[in-house]
């Protein structure tokens, strides 16, 4: 058997998707015009799948901070924190984040993927138990495979199911760590954190929450779902990323645990990869400062969420159940979703095509993400383009009837 033979099925599936007219996983952005617009194949395109929730990628303060840092510190650190040392900004960013979350400790990683990989694989050791939500992000599943703990999966967003599975482990001596996400990246639904906290307390377990999609989005000051649900004090570990609302790249782990710092010399995805370039660290510090100074940015984001969610619902699309900056449009089957995705791109709208196994329960999605910097006109264009493509492909009724019926019933 040849080295690449086992990818035959994957290659066939990818080929079928590409047959929609373009490769959804190989889009080339020719120019980035702003946090909400790009030029793709000569076409002016609205970006509605970028996770750039606060639109800070071109924030003037962040750009200035990054440029100044480039001149001062150079392009990269050329090594890991433990090998090449920390720059003052690495330390300062960790302090900023710890302050922001009101916790003692913070470790910054090079990506959010690595933050999950490092935190989860290192915190749970041999004999310990990881209880992970069934719809967890790939970084959480990969972390489970990297570590040495026993891994049990519980039903998505189902505290009663977690309770049942923890009860089965009651006699096992190992530590139990529950892993959930604040907002789920594909369907945009939120974990019921209050209920999860009650279950983890009942069983003496720890709780880790990945706030990747909820930092700068949820909660009065943007700390995420734990702030929104009022469970700050009960969450033992928080992970997150700078690649979404912070508009850059990087990840973090936060906790009040008194022995936290030993992780810096135990956590392999922290120790054996180069640390963030100082210019990135500077831009994240500026973006975080902006969020702390102006949490009202989130108000605009949520107004935009309403515009897109209500608009698409009125067109008759089947959406993810919980409203939020991830707006998932359900499409029947990967091929139809790929055709719709391509139709949108041809009409100057970029969204994410999300297919199994990256999506839960085999669903195909056009995954939209809302940005605080989207104008109402842009979002209306997105809604119209989706409506047009949806009608052409029979995803929604030919007449814009569903919305009228629903509006009449309300």
């Amino acid at each position: 058997m040849g080295l690449f033979d086992r990818f035959q099925e994957l290659r066939a599936a990818h080929g079928q998707i590409k047959a929609c007219g373009a490769d959804p996983f190989g889009v080339k952005m020719d120019r980035i015009l702003s946090s909400t617009e790009a030029e793709i194949e000569g076409r002016h395109t609205i970006l509605c799948g970028s996770n750039n929730y606060l639109g800070l990628t071109f924030d003037a303060d962040s750009l200035a901070a990054a440029k100044a840092s480039l001149d001062k510190y150079g392009t990269g650190t050329t090594g890991s924190r433990i090998a090449n040392g920390s720059y003052d900004d690495h330390k300062a960013l960790e302090q900023d984040l710890a302050d922001f979350y009101g916790k003692q400790h913070c470790m910054v990683f090079t990506t959010g993927y690595q933050a999950n990989l490092g935190a989860i694989s290192t915190l749970a050791g041999p004999g310990d138990y990881l209880l992970v939500d069934a719809d967890s992000h790939a970084s959480i599943y990969d972390a489970c495979r990297l570590g040495h703990a026993t891994v049990i999966r519980f039903k998505h967003n189902d505290p009663a199911d977690l309770d049942k599975r923890l009860a089965r482990l009651a006699k096992e001596p190992g530590n139990k760590i529950v892993v959930v996400e604040g907002i789920y990246s594909m369907l945009g639904d939120h974990a019921p954190l209050k209920e999860f906290v009650a279950v983890k307390k009942k069983h003496g377990a720890y709780l880790l929450v990945d706030e990747a999609h909820s930092m700068g989005v949820m909660g009065k000051t943007g700390r995420g779902c734990l702030e929104h649900d009022g469970v700050d004090a009960d969450v033992d570990f928080i992970t997150g990323t700078f690649s979404k609302s912070m508009g850059a790249i990087g990840g973090f782990l936060i906790s009040d645990h008194p022995d936290f710092d030993i992780l810096r010399v135990a956590c392999r995805p922290y120790m054996f990869t180069a640390s963030l370039p100082p210019s990135i660290v500077a831009s994240v510090r500026a973006s975080l400062a902006r969020l702390r100074a102006e949490p009202e940015m989130m108000t605009r984001l949520w107004q935009n969420v309403d515009t897109l969610y209500d608009g698409l619902q009125a067109k008759g699309f089947r959406l993810g159940k919980q409203r939020g900056p991830v707006v998932a449009v359900h499409i029947n089957g990967p091929e139809l979703a790929a055709m719709a995705w391509h139709g949108l791109l041809s009409n100057g709208v970029y969204v994410n095509l999300a297919l199994p196994p990256a999506t839960p329960s085999g669903t195909a999605l056009l995954r939209c993400s809302v940005c605080a910097a989207h104008t109402t006109e842009q979002l209306e264009q997105v809604i119209e383009a989706l409506g047009e493509v949806g009608r052409q492909l029979g995803i929604i009724p030919a007449e814009d009837g569903a919305g009228q019926v629903r509006a009449a019933a309300e």
Binding site: T150, V151, I152, P357
Partner: protein, 86 residues
């Protein structure tokens, strides 16, 4: 071990029952049937199946075991072993 320790046959029968929706041909599902190759379960479907079996037999079946399970018979053995160890 509890009094309700399932017999070899009862576990196998339950698993075969749970796999019936995935049957791809008239060939009966047996202990030798390969879960991925013959029934085309992807990794997600296998994990979902484990959850169902955990509840059916009130046992924990760690995801760590998935890599070692190829056939229906191996899966049945895994369930029995976990039940015995519980």
């Amino acid at each position: 071990m509890g009094m309700d320790a399932p017999t070899e046959d009862s576990v196998l029968a339950e698993i075969i029952n749970a796999l019936l929706p995935f049957k791809k041909s008239d060939e009966p599902i047996t202990a030798e049937t390969e879960i991925a190759r013959d029934l085309k379960l992807d990794s997600l479907a296998v994990m979902d199946l484990l959850m169902v079996l955990e509840d059916k037999f009130d046992v924990s079946i760690p995801l760590n075991m998935v890599a070692e399970i190829t056939t229906v018979g191996q899966l049945a053995k895994a369930v029995r072993d976990q039940k015995a160890g519980a």
